[in-house]
Amino acid sequence: MNPGYELPQDEAGYSFGFLDEFAKREIRRTLLKAISIPGYQTPYASREMPMGRGFGTGGLQLTLSLIGPGDTLKVIDQGADDSVNAVNLRHFVELTCPGVDTTERTHEATLIQSRHRIPERALTEQQVLVLQVPYPDPLVIVEPSEARRKVMHGEGDYSRLLTKLYEDIVQFDEITISHRYPTRINGHYVIDPSPIPRYDVPRLHQSRALVLLGAGREKKIYAVPPYTDAMPLVFDDVPFRIEDFRDGQGHRRACSRCGATDSFLDEMIADDGSKTWQCSDSDYCNETLATRTAQIEVTA
């Protein structure tokens, strides 16, 4: 072809935060709109990132547009800092954002990017939580066309979602939605809160921290601003239920590592087929364990 197409001289010569400045500015503008209209899925021209679509490119674009020197970033996946994908994303930010600190401690972070979990420890007004979103639209389970869903959202027409919940109760005596539980924000838009478990949904309600949700592949950004109502879609006579961690005798299971009985647990199957439970939030588990060890030392 044309010998004039030379390779770039400096492969590491990316600008701060990888994205070009115009892209970051566009994302920040979209963010302002998303925060101003709580729960509204704001379209934006999502950029391709050097990791796969579906691996958190939406969340990452938010993080990269917001982060600056002086920020401390925590990245978790399934609640853990050491999950391959969290490691990968954190490494990428360290590579492209010199001067930014990273941490595994929830309380030290100013910016937290997460996939599938909201940290156990309550977040503060000084923190921003960025959630990675695969499906931004809760209506997708009842309506495949985006154009038609947009009209339904505008009209606040969630009757088909409620019908789905009702049909669940008729068929199974239970609402079968396990995660991505449809949640109404500020009394109007219903959002897909990303694949967080139902356990985490109440943490969105009147959250002190700003919660931003980014769907890179579907090119949408939406937000749950601080101190905003976030109510899971339910019926008056059927309460919202979070995951049940009680054993056969009705006792709340404890984390087999730190002993916590107030955290979301991962179920693990050992080689001999027996099951144990451990905290999904690794920082919370470490902290609880440290406190308990300290107490034991004091007693001893």
Partner: protein
């Protein structure tokens, strides 16, 4: 047992990188690394696919991506796209005139004789797909001789640099709709999200960087019967298009370089004109970077199908702009297919909670041993 199964993520990622690179060099002592020029030239159709699906015309960088991704077109196109995200958009190019393409191939299946003549050029269309065993153990001398001999034996030709377009002849006869006097501003899919309904230029831009196989599959559904385009290829041309950009100081259009591209125009059966004009044939347009005829043809058929869907409402998947345009991007679709390999422990825990609760509602006893 470790704290969680994924402990040591960082080490695992570094190990995966090393294992990949070891496989790339598995020929060992006998191996020679692929040069980028070899990939660009000898795997020219692969390079074509990657520049087109990557949406960035940089054959050398595409060759590097192919080498790095060990020949995976989806991954290589993806790497080009990600590189593109780091670059600002400097200007909006004016309309480029494909009449000015320096052609290496052009055919029409509509007319036996076309102004300027048919030119078969480099194509596998009529090649017998028999294994050429002489390529299996090709000597460098034989390899070099091929190209030299081709150039030596090339007769002096009076072929012009450019050729008129077949559709212009059809248009002059009044068989095609006239070209809009005022071209609409092009929709830039890299700067604006698709919010449906979208203009035709957004559809064309999306398809121009779509994954070849995805476009082909949906276009094929239309060809087979889930649709009724029944196209005739008015013209398919492959060649180098001079790219004209305004001079930064004078604003005068100057040739900034050229891109290899494939362009296809299909003519489909006529329809009644909405404004009571005479009936005319309809057109479908396809164009992409590089030499990729299947992609250009598929795109032209889908362009025609989508125009019908936008006007009358879709009666087939290939006529539904949302269905077609949101499912043909290779970077999006492969990324999402791959993401299912990531940990889903939390959501699966949540799924099990629902199933167990539902089971116990219907009186099923829980099994399993507790530690």
């Amino acid at each position: 047992m470790g704290y969680v199964a994924i402990k040591g993520g960082g080490r695992a990622i570094r190990g995966a990188e090393a294992a990949l690179d070891a496989l790339r060099t598995a020929e060992g002592e006998a191996g020679t690394p692929l040069t980028l020029a070899a990939i660009e030239q000898q795997l020219r159709l692969l390079t074509s696919r990657v520049v087109s699906e990557g949406g960035l015309y940089h054959p050398r960088l595409a060759a590097l991506a192919i080498k790095q991704m060990q020949g995976d077109t989806l991954e290589a196109a993806f790497a080009l796209r990600a590189y593109r995200s780091t670059k600002p958009r400097l200007l909006e190019a004016p309309l480029q005139d494909t009449n000015r393409m320096r052609l290496i191939r052009r055919i029409s299946s509509a007319f036996k004789d076309i102004p300027g003549g048919q030119m078969l050029g480099p194509t596998y269309d009529y090649a017998l797909r028999l294994m050429r065993l002489d390529l299996a153990d090709e000597s460098p001398e034989a390899f070099r001789r091929v190209s030299r001999r081709f150039m030596d034996e090339m007769p002096d030709s009076d072929l012009p640099d450019t050729f008129p377009k077949v559709v212009d002849a059809l248009r002059a006869e009044g068989l095609l709709p006239p070209v809009a006097a005022q071209p609409q501003e092009a929709f830039d899919i890299t700067r604006d999200p698709l919010v449906f309904p979208v203009p035709r230029s957004a559809a064309l831009a999306t398809m121009a960087r779509a994954e070849t196989g995805s476009l082909l599959a949906i276009a094929y559904s239309n060809m087979r019967g889930y649709g009724d385009v029944h196209p005739t290829i008015a013209e398919l041309r492959v060649g180098y298009l001079p790219v004209m950009l305004p001079h930064p100081v004078t604003g005068e259009l100057i040739e900034a370089g050229e891109v290899l591209m494939t362009e296809c125009e299909v003519v489909a059966m006529y329809e009644r004109d909405d404004h009571d004009g005479p009936p005319v044939f309809t057109l479908g347009y396809g164009a992409c970077f590089g030499h990729n005829e299947v992609k250009a043809i598929s795109m032209a058929i889908l362009d025609r199908a989508l125009q019908k869907g936008m006007r009358d409402g879709p009666s087939n998947p290939s006529e539904d702009p949302e269905f077609v345009l949101l499912h043909v991007d290779g970077v999006d679709s492969m990324g999402f297919a791959n993401h299912y390999k990531m940990p889903h422990y939390v959501t699966f825990q949540s799924d099990m909670d629902r199933l167990r609760t539902t089971q116990s509602q219907s009186g099923v006893e829980q099994k399993g041993v507790e530690a």
